[in-house]
Amino acid sequence: MSAVAAVREHRQFLGRTSFIEMGARERARAILDAGSFRELLGPFDRLKSPWLPLQGIVAQSDDGVVLARGTLDGRPALVAAIESIYQGGSMGEVSGAKIAGALELALRDCEQGKPVLPVLLLETGGVRLQEANLGLAVIAEIHAAIVALRRHVPVIGVISGMVGCFGGMSLAAALCSRLIVTRQARLGMNGPEVIEQEAGIAELDASDRALVWSLIGGEQRYAVGLVDELLEDDAVAIAASVRTAFAQGLPRQERSAQVDLYLERLAAIDPQRPLDGPGLRALWHGAARS
């Protein structure tokens, strides 16, 4: 790199606004058109978890999900942003119902000929274990709403980090029409710690960060076609990419419906032989996406 290019890159870096460092509310605001953000069921509505206080845990008055209506290039939109610093972004009854309920209303509007563009900012460990079965139930409702809504408008998911997207919500991410990630993002069903506990440290050493990211990190997921866009941690670039994703319209085939492709790919895998991130990139490079 020439000195001039290096200076230019450094200036770009300094001029960037980090998306990862923002809270959920700021993230939602950063995605929507300037001045269009209107929060639904905000902190003053005081819809809290009824289950956490029973277990001696203080409940936050938005239950860790920010819902905002607004516009994207002037078109009506909905952003659901999960607050990763509250209970690890986990899905409880209320936080999950906020997302499911909002998607259900977006679906109703779409069915009435008034499209709403849905964006999910997914930073979550999955089910909130203190609300166990109600968390799992509402995640199924979120899946149902995404599948129904996807028939009308693309559903766009963003995983920016640092928590990543795990558990039942990793299925919600996989159901999105298009997924945007950063290098800091992780997307996986079972968190590394859970795999280590369930299958042993020989299966996965959860403290080996380089290994974890080589398996489920944003860059790896992009390289093998399990997500659609890989971006720097830049709020402006992420907001622009969300608009581009909607402009592309509905995918020819949703990733979660590419049954033949993935069964064919799995048939070619020998589970007796070792496989790592770079090895999979060689196999799945240039993944087909419409």
């Binding site: 509505d45 009824p50 968390g135 899946h143 599948v147 079972n190 799995l266």
Partner: protein, 276 residues
């Protein structure tokens, strides 16, 4: 580390009881069983995920939903949808006895989250296309495996048996993650319904359409099978007269009591949805 436990036969037991078949399909992993049989006066498809100690993916030998299970379920359900395109939308019965999603490094690398999503997508798409999709819980309905196989059904039925349970995480793992003893976890479940594992506590959440009592879940006799058939038929009829979404899960008296917050969130959200 999880220890080797006895493989559950509940899935195959109920597939045989309801269809008199084993449901093995050419070109499909032996863990995913599909059989067609008459239910009332129409054909229905029955789908089970069963253990296979010889599964080529070692992490999916004990009844887990793994990579091939998720995608194979998606293929089978989508075949049923395609076959129903020009005619009757036949019922799909998911027989649920799934111990968990497959935990493994290889599973994560190859996208087990997408495999499970593919199955959930297929079941939800079948429901939206007008197939009555009924989940019959005959054993464990755990976490991501249940999300993939069963939780997108129009109606959830369960046998009233101690081995039938629903939860977000296995007991031992949940105890470790929440830094509680298994005994403490069980005590908590007695006080806080969503924390419990057993199906009677789950029934209090209002998500179940019917808890089927008095049936021998391990060795069903003729009367037991008849009783379950009648419950399935009633659930199918109820589905066909209702909406294609999951709203019935919020309609029961139990849901109004236990999932009051879920209902309240939706009520107030609808009020605020459009700007004043």
């Amino acid at each position: 580390m999880s220890t080797q436990t006895e493989l559950s036969a509940r899935g195959i037991t109920w597939l045989r009881a309801l269809t008199a078949q084993d449901g093995v399909l050419q070109g499909t992993p032996a863990t995913v069983r599909v059989a067609e049989a008459a239910l009332g006066d129409e054909p229905a498809s029955f789908i089970a995920v069963v253990p296979d100690p010889h599964n080529r993916f070692p992490r999916a030998r004990n009844g887990e939903v793994g990579l091939e299970e998720g995608w194979a379920l998606a293929r089978q359900v989508r075949k049923i949808i395609a076959a129903g395109k020009d005619g009757a939308r036949r019922p799909i019965i998911a027989l649920v006895d799934v111990s968990s999603q497959a935990y493994g490094r290889r599973e994560e690398l190859l996208g087990v989250h997408l495999a499970c999503a593919a199955a959930a997508d297929a079941y939800a798409s079948a429901r939206l296309a007008g197939h009555p999709v009924i989940a019959l819980l005959v054993g464990k309905a755990m976490s991501g495996a249940f999300l993939a196989h069963g939780y997108q059904a129009n109606r959830l039925l369960a046998l009233d048996s101690p081995e039938v349970m629903v939860h977000a995480m296995g007991k031992q793992a949940a105890a470790r993650v929440t830094r509680r003893s298994v005994a403490d976890l069980e005590k908590l479940g007695e006080r806080i319904a969503p924390m419990a594992y057993d199906i009677r506590a789950y029934a209090k959440l209002g998500l179940l359409h019917q808890l089927i009592e008095g049936v021998d879940a391990d060795a069903p006799g003729t009367a037991d099978v008849q009783r379950v058939r009648e419950a399935l038929l009633a659930a199918i009829a109820d589905t066909r007269s209702g909406a294609r979404d999951l709203s019935s899960r919020l309609a029961s008296p139990e849901a109004h009591a236990t999932r009051a917050a879920s209902i309240e969130v939706r009520r107030r959200l609808a009020e605020q949805w459009d700007a004043a």
